[in-house]
């Protein structure tokens, strides 16, 4: 087996500078697999900064990927604003009830001034602990849910998308209070020394039109990205689902790296926005990483590298989205190993040469 010759932070810096590197950066977005690595229940991590940090440090050490993202689920901000979240003992938390059921109550929703409640505190604590443990050698980010997606957790997705056409001002208000909460949380994340990493799945073209993206998503993401840039940090924006109609708008937010899922073509993304942003993705999380064999994973990793390694602003091999919790460790290893075998600079890749 090939070993890494550089630490992630070193590799990423050299890659950005155009200096020699041992391999392309690679981030299987492990999500709650981290709980499996330390053999704890998924729900026990959510409200326990110490355990959440221990899980992510252990997962990083186990797999050796190039970025830690402190993440349990998308509802941390919305829950503080009144949404009800259900936490099954050993599965990812999910939204049980939006903050308000009646759209007349939208005006009563308030942003969070200081992210001091328990859940925020535990996540921020996890970020601090992780930084302290491995922050010198690997970038650590804190997951931040985008304003439009957060708005969908406040009134319910179906309500929100109806409102985009019926009462656009109500949607703007929801995005505005969500943005304010996001900015406060971003500030706290930055204070720990971590960088916020943005996720905004509800803004994909699977749900809303590119025109609505420009009206309800772009302005708020732009303000968030501007703020983080103002603090001297680069930003990754992840949107899963169909995104090809909005790649240019995603780049317009100012984000430095776009993370796209398997419902998108890397080749097309490269030609459309590759000179403006770094790309990451798009190994299929369910069909390949969860259900495939290590050989399937290798083939997919090689396909992604062959399509995007020459992206003008760079490429990070990654899963298209957070990996399902039950993804076999062998498949995560296979993804890392495939990238190690390919090495850098990337020479001719035969896409079928995946002897997993």
């Amino acid at each position: 087996m090939i070993r890494d010759l550089m630490k992630p932070a070193e590799r990423l810096k050299a890659y950005a500078d155009g200096s020699p590197i041992d391999r392309l950066p690679c981030v299987p977005i492990v999500g709650n697999i981290a709980a499996r690595v330390i053999e704890e229940k998924v729900s026990s991590l959510r409200n326990n900064g110490r355990l959440l940090a221990r899980a992510h440090v252990a997962a990083y050490k186990r797999f050796g990927y190039d970025g830690i993202r402190i993440f349990t689920d998308l509802y941390v901000q919305a829950e503080a604003m009144g949404a009800k979240v259900r936490c099954p003992s050993d599965e990812t938390a999910y939204l049980e009830k939006p903050a308000v059921s009646n759209t007349d109550q939208i005006d009563a929703i308030r942003p969070i001034d200081t992210p001091k409640s328990g859940l925020f505190r535990e996540h921020l604590d996890a970020m601090e602990r992780t930084l302290e443990a491995v922050g010198k050698e690997v970038p650590v980010t804190g997951a931040l849910t985008g304003p439009f997606t957060n708005a969908s957790f406040l009134v319910g997705t179906e309500n929100l998308v109806r409102l985009t056409l019926k009462r656009p001002r109500a949607v703007h208000r929801l995005c505005e209070v969500s943005l304010e909460t996001s900015l406060r949380y971003a500030e706290a994340i930055l204070k720990t020394g971590c960088t916020p990493s943005l996720t905004d799945p509800m803004s994909s073209s699977t749900l809303i039109s590119p025109k609505q993206f420009r009206e309800f998503v772009l302005p708020y993401l732009t303000r968030l990205v501007d703020y983080i840039h103002g603090q001297g940090k680069a930003v990754t924006l992840h949107i899963c689902g169909k995104t090809h109609p909005v790649w240019e708008s995603m780049a317009d937010t100012g984000a430095d790296c776009l993370s796209i899922d398997n419902d998108a073509s890397l080749l097309a993304a490269k030609s459309k926005v590759g000179s403006r942003v770094r790309l990451m993705g798009n190994v299929p999380p369910a069909a390949v990483m969860l259900q495939g064999s290590p050989g399937d994973v290798r083939r997919e990793a090689r396909r992604c590298v062959s399509q995007a390694h020459d992206n003008p602003r760079g490429y990070i091999v990654a899963s298209g989205c957070s990996l399902p919790t039950e993804t076999p460790f062998a498949n995560v290893d296979a993804m890392m190993d495939a990238v190690r075998e390919i090495g850098y600079p990337v020479n001719e890749i035969s896409p079928v040469d995946g002897n997993g």
Partner: protein, 220 residues
């Protein structure tokens, strides 16, 4: 003369649905009743045609989910005006479909779209809602005699619940009475095959095609 008036109402209704205009849909539906136009024809040639056009626009990426939902709001508003006036004999026996989102998942827009398009195509849909335990699908299908059980999930964590529905049907010797179809982000036709489901559809229009194919049309 009368034919023209009918055609005008039908076209107007179809346009009102496509234009997402609930008020206009309701007032045209009322007008159609006042003119004594057959409610069944009005539904089929007006509302359903409009919803089909909206579905086409959705497939062509002219419309997205917000537009489609407002079209369906208009269609259902018109439907509630017309339905009480349906003559009994024109109410055909329809194939039933039990639909819902698997336990552990509350994403239901995809499921709702499939339901809308199935109803538009003349199927009777029993909507169990979201976050539904596998057993409830089997029980409801048995109770209602539904041919089709349609399962949806957007989460990888809940895919196993689909498997469980098929297993429950097998255990109860009910597997040959119901056909199970699945849809949603993380699943695929390969997954459908693996769990022994009868079909997979990647979107609402394909779900309608699949159900038609499995039931041999709308009539039971």
């Amino acid at each position: 003369m009368e034919l023209n008036a009918n055609a005008e109402i039908f076209q107007g209704l179809s346009n009102a649905v496509v234009d997402m205009d609930e008020e206009r849909t309701v007032s045209l539906a009322e007008m159609s009743i006042e003119l004594g136009i057959d409610a069944y024809l009005t539904i089929n040639n007006g509302l359903v045609t409009g919803m089909m056009r909206a579905g086409d626009l959705f497939e062509q990426e002219e419309y997205f989910i917000p537009e489609l939902l407002l079209c369906s709001d208009a269609m259902y508003a018109g439907l509630s005006v017309l339905q009480p006036h349906l003559k009994k004999e024109t109410e055909k026996l329809k194939s039933r479909v039990v639909i819902g989102v698997i336990e552990g998942d509350t994403h239901d827009i995809g499921k709702n779209l499939v339901k809308i398009m199935l109803e538009t195509s003349g199927f009777e849909v029993i909507d169990l809602g979201r976050d539904i335990p596998p057993r409830s699908f089997a029980d409801e299908a048995d109770r209602s005699g539904a041919r089709i059980i349609a399962l949806s999930t957007l989460m990888t964590t809940t895919m196993d619940g689909m498997n469980e529905v098929v297993r429950i049907l097998e255990r109860n010797n009910r597997r040959n009475r119901h056909q199970v179809i699945i849809g949603g982000g993380p699943v695929s036709s390969a997954f459908a095959k693996r769990i022994g489901a009868d079909g997979y559809a990647p979107n609402a229009s394909d779900a309608v095609r699949l159900v038609k194919q499995l039931t041999g049309g709308v009539e039971r």
